[in-house]
Amino acid sequence: MRSATPWSVVFEDLAKATGETVYMVAVSTLIATLLGIPVGVWLQLTAPGGLRPRPWLHKILGFVVDLGRSMPFLILLVVLTSLTRLILSSSIGPTAAIVPLSVGSVPFVARLVQNILSEVHVAVVEAAVTTGASTLRIVRSVLLRESLPALINAIGVTAIALLGYSAMAGVLGGGGLGDLAVRLGYQRFNDRYLWSTVVVLAVLATLVQYGFNRAARGVDRRRHASV
């Protein structure tokens, strides 16, 4: 029996892998948010009863979004390898993993955003319409601003989902904590790697959740929010 890897080495590997994971998740969450919000807004505007109802466009857009969401992430990873190589001229490493992670979560974010925006009361939106506000202004000042707390929470949910997906991407050459846990921990029966990775992932998820909750509450001006 081999002696266990010294903790100092484990910690060093862990720190590097954590950095890679945080990088992958942060950048892909950012990209998914930047692309997903406009798509979600578009979905909501074109919906029946929306500000710019376009039933057919809405149906097609909704179909594409749901197709994207129904695709198992692992498949998407493989399918998108060539796209990744096209964009980054490499399909290995954390940066390469960002491509499938972002693409995979845009539809997810878009649906979340549309659901959230549809919760803004019709009377509130119509009141803004009667002031002569442009659609762009209503989207910005009413739809997005009124649902900002829920949107922030949704981004938190996305980030945590991406934390999970990043582990999968890691195994397929992306690096990070998933790679560490599977390659060094699971395949080499090294419990120190396996369990310390699990702990770090749990801590990361908790921190992300806590941070987004705080931020959501921080921007909320409704009374029940502070209770």
């Binding site: 009361h121 009377a123 509130v124 119509e126 009141a127 803004a128 319409v129 009667t130 002031t131 002569g132 506000a133 442009s134 202004r137 000042s141 009413v142 601003r145 009124e146 900002l148 921007v219 909320d220 001006r221 409704r222 009374r223 029940h224």
Partner: protein
């Protein structure tokens, strides 16, 4: 001023088209308040949504100061919307913005620069008596305060018409008064033309100059509140005047029994006593009572008269400007 001409609007339903508005015409003079009343399903909401330019009528015109707004699109439509300030039905404030921020919204839409915007918001908060709540969020305000902020918002961009859709439906009677006072003040101080859609006759009683009764998508009564009330037989009179209980036993003791509607200070104060002394009749009040429409006292009394000249007395009262109707005994139709 605003005129609605021959507005029709139908909606598809399972049994074909449902006609919500069937040739509705209204006009409201500048600086007056029109109350549109009617039972639920009469088309009030549809009318309000059409006037708010949220719903496009099938045919007809909505003219504000002469210009038809019905067919407008795009930028012209947005500009037209600024001429009509709307207090929508239900809670319509942005919950993530302060009271002042909510009032500022139409000014932002109109591109009014910051400093001017702040001044205007301050003026409006003063008008609705909520200057001290400028920094409060809607959830920190009472229902009546929220509704007053909604009125201030509707008035922000200096519209010539103010449309209020059921502005008091969610409020208790005390708060209702404060919201109506603000609408009345907007008319008095800003000279806006006010159109209030409501199922609540107390709104008509308190602030309306004119009233239109909507039924089955048609206007069945439209005119000055005081004229319609003085008529006695109108629907408006029926719902605004004090009710009179039937009491045949008491009524049988008199030669003549009549319902008399009196409008205005002079009439209510002096007409009946003078009739008594002039014609030497004995006049007793059998029922009814006194009420107020805005500032004007209005009464409906059931009176019993005894004396030879009872008919002459009733005739004289009618000539003096009161409406005498339903002479229950004696020759019918002394004066309608």
């Amino acid at each position: 001023m605003i005129t609605v001409e021959n507005l029709t609007k139908s909606f598809p339903s399972r049994n074909g088209q449902v006609l919500a508005l069937d040739g509705v015409s209204l006009d409201v003079q500048s600086g007056t308040v029109l109350g549109v009343v009617g039972p639920s399903g009469a088309g009030k909401s549809t009318l309000a949504r059409c006037v708010a330019l949220l719903e496009r009528p099938d045919s007809g015109a909505i003219r504000v100061d002469g210009t038809d707004l019905v067919a407008l699109e795009g930028t012209a439509l947005r500009a037209a919307r600024r001429q009509i300030g709307v207090v929508p039905q239900g809670d319509s404030l942005l919950r993530q913005r302060t009271a002042a921020g909510n009032v500022a919204l139409p000014l932002e839409s109109a591109g009014v620069p910051g400093p001017q915007r702040r001044n205007r918001v301050a003026e409006l908060l003063d008008l609705v008596g909520l200057t001290d709540k400028a920094g409060s969020y809607p959830d920190q305000l009472s229902g009546g305060q929220r509704q007053r902020i909604a009125v201030a918002r509707a008035l922000a961009a200096n519209p010539s018409v103010l449309l209020a859709d059921e502005p008091t439906s969610a409020l208790d009677p005390d708060t209702t008064g404060s919201v109506l006072a603000v609408l009345d003040r907007a008319r008095a101080e800003l000279g806006v033309t006010v159109l209030v859609v409501t199922h609540d006759m107390s709104v008509v009683r308190r602030i309306c100059d004119d009233v239109a009764v909507l039924e089955g998508g048609r206007v069945v009564e439209h005119g000055k509140v005081l004229d319609l009330v003085a008529d006695g037989a109108s629907r408006t009179a029926a719902s605004l005047l004090p009710s009179v209980d039937q009491n045949p036993a008491a009524e049988s003791a008199f030669d003549r029994v009549a319902d008399i509607v009196l409008v205005g200070f002079a009439a209510v104060g002096a007409l009946l006593p003078e009739a008594t002394s002039r014609f030497g009749v004995q006049l007793s009040l059998l029922g009814g009572g006194l009420t107020r429409l805005a500032e004007t006292p209005v009464a409906r009394f059931r009176v019993g008269l005894t004396g030879e000249r009872a008919d002459s007395a009733l005739e004289w009262i009618s000539e003096a400007g009161a409406s005498v109707q339903r002479t229950l005994k004696g020759p019918q139709g002394v004066a309608a």
